[in-house]
Amino acid sequence: MKEMIYADALALAICEALETDPAVTLINASYGGLTPQRACYNVIRERFADRIVDSPIAELGFCGIAVGAAMTGLRPIVGISTGAFSFEAWPQIINEAAVACYGSAGQVTAPVVFHMLTGIRGAGAVQHSHATQAMFCNAPGLQVVMPSSPADARGLMLTCALHSRNPTVFIDHQRLQATTGMVEEKITPIPLGVAEVKRVGNDVTLVAVGIMVPRALEAAEILAREGISVEVVDPRTLVPLDKKTILASVAKTGRAVVADESQLTCGVAAELAAVIAEEGFHSLKAPIRRVGIPNVPVPCHQDEEEFITPSTDKLVDAVRAVCGRTVN
C-alpha cells in the first residue's frame, strides 16, 4: 500500500487500463477539468499520446462516436469534463448507449465509460456545478459509479474500463481530486455493486456517496466525541446498488441518515431512503433523514453556495436528530 492523491490514483488506473488492453481508447483526456490537480493527468498523455483523440467541442457527437466504437470492439473512456456538459450528449448517452443492450435483447453491448467531474466546486455557478448522478440513475441500462476515495476511484475505473460489458457513467466529484488515501501496489479492480463500510458503528447508519463520504467520516469523528457511534456505509456504485450491505447496517443500528450532494427531489438520497423504508422499515427506531441540496440551482456567491452545500455540520445535525439529540 502507498498513499496517493485521488487524481494520481485515477490517472494510474487509466494508464493501467491502457497498458492492459489495446482496445482501451481515450476520447479526450481532460479528467482533471480545471481543478488544481489537472496536471496529475499529464502522465496519461506522456505515456499514451497515440491512444488519445482530442475532439472538437461536440459532446453529442463524440459521446455517440464512443458508443458506436464501443459497439464495434473498442473500450472508450470519454472525458466529458464538467458533468453538466453531459446534457449536450443526452440523446446519445440516454437514448443510445443505455438502450443498446435492452433494445437488441442482449445482442449489442456498448462498454463505454463516460467520465465527468460533477458537484459544487466553488464558484461553478448555475451551469457548472450540477450533480448528475440521480438523472443517470433514472436511465436503466447505465451503470452509475461514484467513488469517494483514491483506491475506489482506481479500482472502479479498472473494472469499468477493462471488464464491464455495459456503459458506465463515472461520476467524479471535483472536490475529491485532492483527497488522499491508501492504494494497493498491485492492480486491484473493485467489483460493481459492492458497498464498503468505511467506518464501523452501532447507533446510526450514515449512507453517504461520493463527496459525502469524507464529510460523513468527519461527522462520525465529531459525533463519537458526543457518544454517538456512527456506521458510515459507502455504496460506491449507485447502479448496481448493494442494498444488502445498507440494510444489514440499518438492521444493526436501527437509525438511518442518507446523504448525497444532489438536489433532494427524486435524488439519490430519496432513492436510498425509499429502499430503507420499503425493505428495512421494521428495524427503524426513528424516521429516516435525508441530507442533500435544497431544490435550487447552485449559486455562484460563496455565502449562498455554502448555505446550500450539504456540509459536515448538516450531517452532524441530522445524525443528532435521528438519535433524539438537540440540534444546534
Binding site: 453529442l60 458508443v67 458506436g68 473498442l74 443510445e96
Partner: protein, 340 residues
C-alpha cells in the same frame, strides 16, 4: 452503362422482395388487429438506394439505419421471416421481438442499431468508423438517414469529426421529398433547411458529396460501388444524397396502398393504375422504371417478371406465416437484458 443480366435480375428480385414484404407489413397493420400496435414506416419507393448501397458493402461492414429500416435489413440479407417476426414482436424476430418495427437489429449482418431518434445513428456510425480506423481493419461503416436528420446537431457534429479524423464512413441521405424535376441534380428549396442543396453542407467540411437519382437503380448501383470503394481505400468519409420522389401512399400519417398491392401491369401501363399512383409509376417508382428498362433491354420478359413476382409473393407469404406462427414475446421477459 448497364450491369450484367444476372445482377439486374438479382436487383429486380431484391427490390420486389422489399416491396412485397412492406405490403405485408401494411396488411399486418391494417388487416390484423393487434399485430402492429403503433405507427410504422415503410420503404416503398426507396428500394433502389438501399439495394445499391447494400450491394456495394462486404459482409463485415457495418450498417446503421433508422425507423424506416425494413428495406435496409432485407437488402442486407436479412431473413424475411425473422424480419417480419421482429416487426410484430415475435420471439423468432431478430431481437426476439423486443425491438419491433423501429429497431430491427441484426448484428450478424453488421446492423448494430436502427435508431428511431432522428439523427440518432449518425454519431454511432462515425463511432464504428472510428473503431475501424483504430483497429486498422478494411471495413466501412454506412449510415442511412432521411433529409430531416440533417436538421439535427448530431449530423453536423458527426460529419465534422468524420472529416477531421478521415473516418471510413458513408453517409447516405435518402431525401424522399425530391420533386421529379430536380431528382438528378440542381437546387431543392426546403422550408426546414436553409441550404440550396443538401450536399453543400458536407462539402463545406471537405467531404466528397454526390447527388444520385434515387429512382435509377443502376445509377445508384454504380455510384454506391464507387463511393464505398473510395471510402474503403482510406479516402475518408463520403456523402450521398439519393433523391427520391415520395411514394404517394406515404403521404398520409400511416401508409396507404392505393388500389391494393402494387401490380406489375401498372408498371407497364401506368394509365391503368389508380389515379394517385399514375404519375409516380410513370416517372418515379424505381421498381417500375427498372422493370421497364430491363424488359426494353431484353434482360427479362414480362412473363419472367410475373414468374419472379409469384415466387417472391410465395416467399413473403411463407415468411409471414412463419412470423405469425412464432410465439409472442413473454411478458416477464420485459425485465431481461437491461445489462449484458
Amino acid at each position: 452503362m448497364s450491369v450484367s443480366a444476372e445482377t439486374a435480375i438479382r436487383n429486380l428480385k431484391m427490390m420486389l422482395t422489399i416491396r412485397r414484404a412492406e405490403e405485408k407489413v401494411i396488411s399486418f397493420a391494417t388487416e390484423h388487429t393487434g399485430l402492429i400496435r403503433g405507427h410504422y414506416h415503410v420503404y416503398i419507393g426507396q428500394e433502389a438506394s438501399g439495394v445499391a448501397a447494400c450491394n456495394a458493402l462486404g459482409p463485415k461492414d457495418y450498417v446503421f439505419t433508422t425507423h424506416r429500416n425494413h428495406g435496409h435489413v432485407i437488402a442486407r440479407g436479412g431473413e424475411l421471416g425473422r424480419v417480419l417476426a421482429e416487426i410484430i414482436g415475435r420471439s423468432d424476430g431478430y431481437n426476439g421481438g423486443r425491438g419491433g418495427t423501429f429497431h430491427v437489429i441484426a448484428p450478424h449482418l453488421g446492423i448494430l442499431q436502427t435508431s428511431g431518434v432522428v439523427g440518432g445513428c449518425m454519431p454511432l456510425a462515425a463511432g464504428a468508423a472510428f473503431s475501424i480506423k483504430t483497429r486498422k481493419t478494411d471495413q466501412v461503416s454506412l449510415v442511412f438517414f432521411g433529409d430531416g436528420s440533417m436538421e439535427e446537431g448530431a449530423f453536423y457534429e458527426s460529419i465534422n469529426m468524420a472529416a477531421l479524423w478521415k473516418l471510413p464512413v458513408v453517409f447516405v441521405c435518402e431525401n424522399n421529398g425530391a420533386p421529379l424535376a430536380s431528382r438528378k441534380g440542381g437546387e431543392i428549396p426546403s422550408n426546414s433547411l436553409n441550404a440550396k442543396r443538401l450536399i453543400d453542407i458536407p462539402m463545406a467540411l471537405g467531404i466528397p458529396s454526390v447527388i444520385v437519382d434515387g429512382a435509377d437503380m443502376e445509377a445508384c448501383d454504380a455510384l454506391m460501388k464507387d463511393v464505398v470503394a473510395g471510402v474503403r481505400s482510406g479516402g475518408g468519409p463520403a456523402f450521398v444524397e439519393s433523391r427520391i420522389t415520395r411514394w404517394p401512399g406515404n403521404a398520409a400519417a400511416f401508409p396507404v396502398l392505393h388500389g391494393g398491392a402494387w401490380r406489375i401491369d401498372w408498371a407497364f401501363d401506368p394509365g391503368n393504375a389508380p389515379a394517385p399512383l399514375q404519375d409516380w409509376l410513370s416517372h418515379s417508382d424505381p421498381l417500375a422504371l427498372y422493370m421497364r428498362d430491363c424488359v426494353a433491354r431484353g434482360v427479362v420478359t414480362r412473363a419472367d417478371l410475373d414468374r419472379m413476382d409469384a415466387a417472391v409473393v410465395a416467399q413473403v407469404n411463407e415468411a409471414a406465416a412463419f412470423a405469425v406462427a412464432s410465439p409472442p414475446r413473454k411478458a416477464e421477459s420485459a425485465l431481461e437484458h437491461v445489462f449484458a
